[in-house]
């Protein structure tokens, strides 16, 4: 358990069974009154934000978050199936939880999944992923400008903006954090 005086911005705590993070924190002590710890809190499951004031005598539950390494296996309908690198147990993540990152998941990709107890909360991909361009308009020969962009389709159908010199069959590196083209790896 945490004491109220342990609270600070960024601390993760558990409220009503849900993992939460303190996103803003203010120490108050009115007049001769008790110390009050005014927090803005985000529920890490629902994303809801709310205010909560703790008194100095209150105890706050710790939140045990654990990251584990997984390998991507296959897609099963709306679910993405990963296998635990240590136990080989399968973990199903809904596409809703994965969000836009699902466009950058490739075979055998090594990922980190964040758990609260046994509930998966979040997934982190490698910062960069290499993918091959499936479809794009041919670029002008010899045009190496990197600031003129055009749309291109990845093998999974996702459309991404690439420089005009990229052609079908080229392998590019994508920054998964921003979801944007980083550079060209090889010519197709």
């Amino acid at each position: 358990m945490y004491s109220a005086s342990d609270l600070k911005k960024g601390l993760k705590i558990e409220i009503d069974g849900d993992p939460c993070m303190i996103t803003n924190f203010e120490f108050s002590k009115p007049g001769k009154g008790q110390a009050l710890y005014r927090c803005k809190i985000k529920n890490l499951v629902t994303g809801n934000q709310f205010d909560k004031t703790y008194r100095s005598v209150e105890k706050i539950k710790r939140c045990s978050l654990m990251s584990r390494d997984f390998t991507f296996s296959y897609i099963d309908g709306e679910n993405y199936v990963f296998s635990n690198n240590e136990t080989y147990e399968e973990e199903l993540l809904g596409s809703e939880l994965i969000g836009d990152l699902k466009n950058f998941i490739v075979d055998d990709m090594q990922v980190e999944i964040l758990f609260h107890n046994d509930r998966a909360l979040d997934i982190t991909l490698p910062n960069f992923v290499e993918m091959t361009i499936a479809e794009t308009e041919p670029g002008a020969r010899g045009d190496t400008a990197t600031n003129v962009m055009k749309p291109a389709k990845l093998p999974n159908g996702y459309e991404i903006n690439v420089p005009i010199f990229i052609n079908e069959g080229d392998t590019i590196r994508i920054d998964t954090r921003a979801g944007t083209y980083a550079d060209r790896v090889s010519k197709g």
């Binding site: 005086s5 203010e26 120490f27 108050s28 002590k29 009115p30 007049g31 001769k32 009154g33 008790q34 110390a35 009050l36 005014r38 004031t53 008194r55 100095s56 005598v57």
Partner: protein
């Protein structure tokens, strides 16, 4: 002899500003015939208050306030005294709190909290160029009824009072802006103030807020040794129940109350006043080493 720096001539850098305000505060009190006193920073027995924790210093404690000694000086016949000095409170840290801070404390014998309010107004008007210079005054009862929807006088509940003060009343005082004096506290929140004659449910205590920030706390001082001992004992029991360290009762202080004239006194946070003069919203601006 130092003189009060005209408030529109205050320097802007925090080091020079502190120098100018300190000189001005001293000049203000010298001009009014106050005596500057020095009292111990390390003490055997800290003043017992429910929510104030003293920092240990060897076999002593660092003072959380100089009031215990000032009252003994009043009892010894020194009728107009002030002190500027460091006080220490364990675990208090935030934009408006620092565990070590500068307190200005002053007392008048044969006076009450309203006389002290006159001093406080004159002092703030002398040193601070306020955005909104109109002074407003409201009772705690009025402030809570209007901004929190209930009246804590005669109906006091500590947690509700503290939380609503921070979440509802103080933000309203910020909205009102400028200096606001919150006056006549529920007797349960009297601390070391006396009951208001004829109105036993309230205590003669005020707090000065400027732009919603608490600057000073004043009392018509409690001079009844029996009542003081009862409050210390009650406070000791509550501290024990909260698992806090319980300080012994300071017998020399209790005894001195027998000779203490009716008095008014106040503690004013100098760092917060500097912060307001500097137009800042955190003590970081005026405490460069923290």
């Amino acid at each position: 002899m130092p003189t009060v720096c005209p408030r529109d001539k205050m320097p802007t850098g925090s080091i020079a500003l502190r120098d100018a305000v300190m000189r001005s505060i001293r000049a203000f009190f010298y001009e009014r015939g106050f005596m500057e006193v020095e009292t111990p920073v390390r003490l055997k027995i800290p003043c017992m208050e429910l929510h104030i924790d003293a920092e240990p210093s060897g076999d002593h404690f660092l003072r959380t306030s100089p009031e215990i000694f000032h009252k003994q000086l009043l009892a010894a016949g020194h009728g107009k005294i002030f002190e500027i000095g460091k006080c220490f409170r364990r675990g208090e840290f935030g934009p408006l709190h620092n565990p070590e801070y500068t307190m200005l404390e002053w007392y008048r014998a044969n006076a009450d909290y309203m006389d002290i309010l006159d001093d406080a107004k004159a002092l703030v008007q002398a040193v601070a160029e306020l955005r909104d210079p109109a002074w407003k005054q409201m009772t705690v009862s009025e402030a809570f009824t209007e901004h929190a929807g209930w009246d804590p006088v005669g109906n006091y509940a500590e947690d509700r009072f503290d939380i609503d003060l921070v979440e509802k009343v103080e933000p309203a005082l910020k909205q009102i802006g400028g200096p606001v004096v919150l006056i006549d506290y529920p007797v349960e929140a009297a601390a070391l103030s006396r009951r208001k004659p004829g109105t036993p449910l309230v205590a003669e205590r005020w707090e000065l807020y400027i732009d919603g920030i608490e600057i000073a706390n004043a009392y018509s001082e409690l001079t009844d040794p029996v009542e003081q001992r009862r409050r210390f004992k009650e406070c000791a029991e509550q501290r024990k129940a909260f698992g806090k360290e319980v300080y012994p009762i300071d017998e020399a202080f209790i005894q001195s109350l027998e000779k203490m004239p009716p008095s008014g006194g106040v503690a004013l946070g100098v760092d917060r006043l500097l912060m307001l003069i500097a137009g800042a919203d955190s003590l970081d601006t005026v405490l460069p080493f923290r």
